[in-house]
Amino acid sequence: MKLGFRFSTAAQLLAPICNNSVKGAKGKLRKFSDHKDVNGRRTELGRQPNPNAQDISFSPFKNCVKKDMLENEANSTISKSTGLPRKRFYRARAHSNPLSDSHFPVPISPNHVEYSHHYPQFFSSAGEVGSIKKVQFADIGCGFGGLLISLSTLFPETLMIGMELRDKVTEYVKERILALRTTNPGQYQNVSVVRTNSMKYIPNYFEKGQLTKMFFLFPDPHFKEKNHRRRVISPHLLDEYAYVLEVGGIIYTITDVEELGDWMKTCLENHPMFEALTEEELHADPAVKLLSTATEEGQKVARNGGQTFQAGQGCDFSGGVILAGALLYQQASSRTLLAMLVG
C-alpha cells in the first residue's frame, strides 16, 4: 500500500482497525477524532498517554496542594536526577483558541511590564538608571521552551522572552528556567516567559523597534480556510511585528507543514516591510541552526521522521498509522525555512 496520502485519509485508514473493536484501538480512535476536531497538528498522538499522569495533572488538587503533602507533592513534579520539572506533570491541551477573550492580566503598556521580576540578576546588578537593558528576542509560542534555553547560552548578554498562550505550558517553562538557574548559577538569567496571547497583546509588551529577533517555530497550521485568521503569521499581524522589530530585525519561521510554509512565505514576501535574507546570511546566523534542533517540536519531527520512513517501507503498518499521519508532512515538505529581514 502506498503512503502518499494526506492527514485526513490517514483517519480513514485507521477506521478498519478500530472496527475490530479491540479496546485499545477504540481508545486510539477517540483520541484521534478529538484531535481532528480541534483541527491542529498532531502532538501527543504517537505516544499512549500515561493515564495516571493525566489524572494528576487534571485533578483539582494540583493547584491547591495540601499543607501536609506539600513536601512530597512539590518534589514529585521535579525530577530528582536533573532537578528540572517533569514534563508529564504539565500536560496541556495542544491548542488554545487565540480568538477568545483573555482572562489573564495584560500589562497596560510596555512601561508597566515588571522586567525586574523576570530578570532579577540583570536588574539588580544594573543598578544605576540608564543602563537598563531591554528585551531583544521574543519567541512567540515558545511551547516548552527548548529554543529559549539554547539561545540563552548562545547569547548570554541578550534578554529574551518566551510568549505562550497555554498556562500550564508557561508554568512548566517558568519552573524549568528557575531550576536551570539554581543548578547552573550565573547562567540562564537572561531568559523568561510570560503567558499571553501574542496575537493580541504584542504592543503591550514591546515598544516600537525594540526587538531584534522574533521566532515563530512550528506554529499551529490551521488548515481550514475559515481558521486561517488564527494563523500567527498573517498579512495584518506582520504589520505589528514590523512595528516591534527594529530596522534590520529578523523574523525566523520554521514548519514541517508544507501548506503553512507556503502561506508564511507568501505573507512575508508580499509584505512591503520585509525582505528575504540571502543564503550566506542564513548560514552565518548561529540561531538558524537551533531552529530545527532546539525545540521540542523540531526534535519530535526528526524523531518521528525516522520512524515513518521505516513504516513507509511497509513493515509495521498498523502500528505506524498514527505516527505516519503525524509525519507525512515532514516527508512531503523540504522543511520550509524562512528568515526575513526588515528593510
Binding site: 476536531d37 497596560i108 510596555p110 495584518h236
Partner: protein, 432 residues
C-alpha cells in the same frame, strides 16, 4: 438546570439596541440623525426635511445604523451599520451614490480629508478602504469593492478618525488600544506602517476626536473610554499627555466599584480649530465641558451643563465649524416593553465656542424648542414627532447602556461556571 439562567449576554438579540446618532454638516447646511434603521436628514438652508433617494437596488438600511458621518468638505455623507451595508450619499441631491457590502457588521466609518477614500471598520477588527476616485456626485456607481487596509486582531473597532493633516488613520478598539497607522499613498495595497500605539486606557476605548489649532496644526488626539476617563495623546510617539477623570469631575463617582460602566464616555465633540471638548457620559444628565491647554498639554474639566431637561442623557454629539451650536441627541433604536418603537430627542446648545477665555465666563445655553434652527419642522423630521415624553428617557438610557456593556466589556464568568462549562468538553473529562 443551571443553564436556565444565562449570566448576561446570552439572549443578545433581545438587549441589542443601537443608540441614536447625530451628525452636522461642516457648514451647517443640514443635520442628520440615525435612529435604528431610520436615517433622517433636515436641510437647514432650505428649512425643510429631505427625502432620501436610494436607487442602488438595496433600498435604505435594514438594520440599526451604527455610524454616520459627513465628509470634511461636506460633499459626501456615509452611513453604515448592522445590515453590513455602507451607503455613500451625495449631499447635493441626497441620492445614494453607491452601496457597498461588508462581510461583517460595520462599527465605525471615516472619510479621508480630501474626500477620496472612505474607510469602514467591521466587528472583526478589519478596516476596509473604498476608493472614490472618479466620483462626480450624480451618477450611481456600481461594483465598488472595498480593500482591506489594516486589522486589529479580532477586536471590535469602536472609532476611526483621520488626523487633521491626513497623514494618519487612527483606530480604537475594545481591547483598550488606539493604533495610529500611516495612511499610505496607495491605500488599496494596505497600510502597513504603524506610527504608534496609544496605550493607557484600562477599558474599551469608545470614541476619538482631534483637537487642533493654528499653532498646533498636527493636532492632539483625545479619546474617551469605558474607564471613565478622557485622555490626551501625542499620536507621533503614542505618549499619554494627560488624563481627565471625567467620572469624578462630573460628580458621578462610584466608590463601590461594582458598576464599572457607570460613567462610560459615549461621545466626544470638538470644534475644528478649537480647544474645547464636549463630553457625553453614560448616566450624566447633560454635557461635561473639558478644555485643553495645548501649550502645557493638559486637560481640565470646565463645567457640567445640566439644565438640558430631566433625564436627558445624550447618546451622540455633533457640531459644525461655522456656527457655535452643539447638537445633542438621546434615543434608542427600539425599546422593549413600551409603546414606543424607537425614541429620539434632539436638543441644541448655543455658545459652543472655539476657545474658553475665562473659564468661568463660558456660557453654554440650552435652546428652547422654538429657538432651534428649523424649529418645529426640524424637530418633527428628526425626532419623528414634536413632543417626546420624557419618562421613557431613563429606560432608553438604560437600554443603551446595557447594550454597550454587552458589546464591549469582556464577560466575566465565575470559576464554578467555567468549570461547569468545561464538563461538556470531550478531552477534559473530570472524573467524578
Amino acid at each position: 438546570m443551571e443553564d436556565a439562567q444565562p449570566e448576561g449576554g446570552e439572549n443578545n438579540r433581545d438587549v441589542d439596541v443601537a443608540p441614536a446618532l447625530i451628525s452636522v454638516h461642516p457648514t451647517q447646511d443640514s443635520v442628520a440623525v440615525a435612529v435604528g434603521s431610520d436615517l433622517r436628514v433636515f436641510d437647514l438652508r432650505g428649512n425643510c426635511g429631505i427625502t432620501l433617494v436610494d436607487e442602488t437596488g438595496e433600498a435604505f438600511h435594514k438594520d440599526s445604523i451604527r455610524a454616520i458621518r459627513y465628509g470634511a468638505n461636506g460633499k459626501l455623507f456615509v452611513s453604515a451599520g448592522d445590515d453590513k451595508l455602507v451607503k455613500i450619499w451625495s449631499t447635493d441631491s441626497w441620492r445614494c451614490i453607491t452601496s457597498v457590502c461588508s462581510e461583517k457588521r460595520v462599527s465605525a466609518i471615516a472619510i479621508s480629508n480630501d474626500g477620496l477614500y472612505v474607510c469602514f471598520a467591521d466587528k472583526f477588527g478589519v478596516v476596509w478602504v473604498l476608493d472614490l476616485h472618479g466620483l462626480d456626485g450624480n451618477e450611481t456607481l456600481v461594483d465598488k469593492k472595498a480593500a482591506p487596509l489594516l486589522a486589529h486582531y479580532c477586536s471590535i473597532i469602536t472609532s476611526l478618525e483621520f488626523s487633521p493633516d491626513g497623514r494618519f488613520i487612527v483606530s480604537a478598539d475594545r481591547d483598550f488600544k488606539i493604533r495610529v497607522t500611516v495612511f499610505p499613498k496607495k491605500p488599496l495595497d494596505g497600510a502597513h506602517e504603524i506610527q504608534s500605539f496609544c496605550l493607557g486606557h484600562t477599558e474599551f476605548v469608545s470614541c476619538l476626536a482631534f483637537l487642533c489649532t493654528a499653532e498646533y496644526p498636527q493636532g492632539f488626539l483625545v479619546s474617551g473610554s469605558g474607564d471613565s476617563t478622557v485622555r490626551l495623546w501625542d499620536i507621533n510617539s503614542g505618549t499619554l499627555l494627560d488624563t481627565c477623570e471625567v467620572g469624578s469631575q462630573a460628580g458621578l463617582v462610584d466608590y463601590s466599584g461594582s458598576e464599572l460602566s457607570c460613567s462610560t464616555v459615549t461621545d466626544l465633540c470638538t470644534i475644528p480649530g478649537g480647544n474645547v471638548v464636549a463630553v457625553a457620559i453614560q448616566s450624566l444628565q447633560g454635557i461635561l465641558l473639558v478644555s485643553c491647554d495645548l501649550s502645557s498639554q493638559t486637560l481640565g474639566a470646565v463645567k457640567v451643563v445640566s439644565n438640558m431637561g430631566d433625564n436627558f442623557i445624550p447618546t451622540s454629539l455633533g457640531c459644525s465649524s461655522s456656527a457655535e451650536l452643539l447638537w445633542t441627541i438621546t434615543g434608542v433604536s427600539k425599546l422593549h416593553g413600551s409603546d414606543y418603537n424607537s425614541l429620539a430627542r434632539v436638543r441644541v446648545l448655543s455658545g459652543f465656542k472655539k476657545t474658553v477665555p475665562g473659564t468661568t465666563k463660558h456660557e453654554l445655553t440650552v435652546l428652547d424648542d422654538n429657538e432651534v434652527p428649523g424649529e418645529e419642522k426640524l424637530l418633527e423630521k428628526l425626532q419623528g414627532s414634536v413632543t417626546v415624553e420624557e419618562e421613557v428617557f431613563l429606560a432608553a438610557a438604560e437600554a443603551v447602556k446595557k447594550s454597550m456593556c454587552n458589546l464591549l466589556i469582556k464577560k466575566q464568568y465565575t470559576t464554578e461556571r467555567r468549570e461547569f462549562r468545561k464538563r461538556g468538553r470531550n478531552d477534559k473529562k473530570i472524573k467524578q
